[in-house]
Symmetry: C2
Subunit: 106 residues, 2 copies
């Protein structure tokens, strides 16, 4: 719960975890299914899934002896919120540039 922003950004910092996120976007998958898609051990994939879960980016549902890993779009909210301030900066930059050009042309 604490530092959700940090956990989410950390979860996205690894290329394998970003790949997992992309795969889960197309369909829910078990650990074994995900492991088939990567050149690494099931234990390694499990670790990545734990980090993604800590980041709030996936939800794990126990179904019998399997664990269905599902994407949790809400988990991306802290990341997008943080980045939103940057959009403002970007816009301000464009405004300043526009102003400067207008002053020169006056």
């Amino acid at each position: 719960m604490p530092d959700q922003i940090q956990n989410a950004f950390r979860a996205l910092a690894d290329p394998t975890r970003r790949d997992i996120v992309q795969m889960l976007a197309s369909q829910d998958m078990t650990i074994a299914q995900l492991t088939d898609c990567f050149d690494m051990t099931r234990a390694a994939v499990k670790k990545h899934l734990t980090v993604l879960s800590d980041g709030g980016l996936i939800l794990v549902e126990a179904r019998g002896r399997e664990r269905i890993n599902r994407l949790e779009p809400k988990g991306m909210a802290p990341v997008l919120d943080w980045l939103s301030f940057f959009d403002q900066f970007w816009d301000e930059r464009l405004r300043n540039l526009k102003e400067a050009i207008e002053r020169k042309e006056t």
Copy 2:
């Protein structure tokens, strides 16, 4: 140049670096100025700036013996591009949910 997405995500994965980005959003700063804002050595701050530079998130301009660190909004583009696919997923989820509700109510 290669793996710009990875370098950008990695740069954003550290809380100190995200703080630096926020500070540079309000004004360009030298390494010494940034160091005053944190409880760590100038060398540590310099390392973070190198990572941010590798991620394409800042530009460094030499001015005399000082180095002006400036935010580079364009560097955020790979991150936003990668996240954009997620927006689609989110929308699709909403569409599916909407469809399911409509089917039930029919």
